[in-house]
Amino acid sequence: MELAFVIEKFVLITVVFVLTLLVAMYSTLAERKIAGFLQDRVGPNRAGPFGILQPLADGAKMFFKEEIIPTESNRFLFIAGPSLAILTACIGSAVIPWGQKLTFGDYVVDLQVTDINVGILYIFGVVSLGVYGVMIGGWASNNKFSLMGAIRAASQNISYEIPMGLSIIALLMVTGTLSLKEISEQQSGFVNWNIWYQPLGFLIFLICAFAETNRTPFDLPECETELVGGYHTEYSSMKLGFYLFAEYINMFVSSAVMATLYFGGYNFPFMYDLGLSENWITIIGVIMLFAKIFFFIFFFMWVRWTIPRFRYDQLMNLGWKVLIPLAIANIVLTGIVITVKDLL
């Protein structure tokens, strides 16, 4: 293993990491702006032009707040909870292909942190770990509201993981690989995007993504009207910031996963017909991927300010009695269609 490899990867990881944090920071501003727009208000507009410095002000505020660790809580787990939440949120992006190759002279840089042949399983595993941050933090607070929020979060996340896994299985039957790089390459052009083969699978995956990121209409773990603040009732300063930040990072990563799995990733229509050089195709591809991601983030916010929250039994019924049978039906349907097509 050469030094160049290590340096290349560290530079790439740092760039991805900074981009992730920037997107998450400005998602908080975008959310408030979009909420303002949808409710016929202005939204934050005091810090800098159009409120552009608002996320920095919010971040700085988090740093200077008093840190409160309740005496009754379990001190170690209380600190471990939010740290684990932000850690799992930040490592999910390692297998997402952000673009094709960039060539500098004779040095080729792959715009993906790593291409492992179990990419989807890795993301699935990291998403499953995400529940621990919320569960540990809520339990360690030793507060009844936090406990309720934490159990709800755990129960909701594991319930929606099953239909999510099942909807990915139908996709794998089409692609025949778990590597996200290969899945992206298969979708070159526009007619090959997986959304055309798996519309139902995408719908199930989208609903599960909302539930896994605890976004409205599935934000029961932090439902203010019943549970004060849910699992983060006792948290203050940057620990609270970590929980809120982790939610936005998760939203960014799941948008990137959806764009990669179903909407062609970095591919865009007519990418090889415009007579562009390879580097330009890569750069436009990265911009296109981010355009898709931003659209999904906007969609997350649009839904949040449009649809009211579910009741808990409705949430469980939707997960277990609607999405799981639907996902299994989708697998059966996909299986029959592919087999008939291959036999003919």
Partner: protein
């Protein structure tokens, strides 16, 4: 018209341990960020602790008992069912990846497996294990 991607002469990609190394790097960077930020906020934030402030929040009234209490058994049931179904889902991953090489036989065998799984699922629903009051 839709056509399925041609995977007949696909190169089988093998991951070596080196491919997993960048994931370790990313975990290190994320861990550094989390720990660093925690330490910095701990150092620069004000500390004015009072006994009242550090009691658990209970909407302003006196705290009654603590939160180490039993909770609804339904949550436990959901957790057990999750383990059951998630293991089934994991079984299906290798099958799904090799689906087109296995052909008709593979599909029929897996459908039988899924049928038995579905029987269990119907039993759970009939037992009202997933009904919330």
């Amino acid at each position: 018209m839709l056509y399925l991607p041609d995977i007949s002469n696909r190169m089988e990609v093998q991951s070596t341990p080196v491919n997993y190394l960048p994931i370790i790097f990313q975990i290190l960077v994320a861990l550094g960020f989390a720990v660093g930020t925690m330490v910095v906020t701990h150092m620069i934030g004000p500390k004015r602790r009072t006994a009242e402030k550090l009691t658990p929040f209970e909407s302003g009234i006196e705290v009654i008992g603590n939160a180490r209490q039993p909770f609804s058994i339904k949550y436990f049931l959901v957790a057990i069912l999750f383990v059951l179904f998630d293991v089934e889902v994991i079984f299906m991953y290798p099958w799904a990846v090799n689906f087109r090489e296995l052909g008709l036989d593979g599909m029929i065998q897996m459908f039988i497996f899924m049928g038995t799984l579905l029987l269990g699922f119907i039993y759970i629903i009939k037992k009202k294990a997933l009904d919330w009051e």
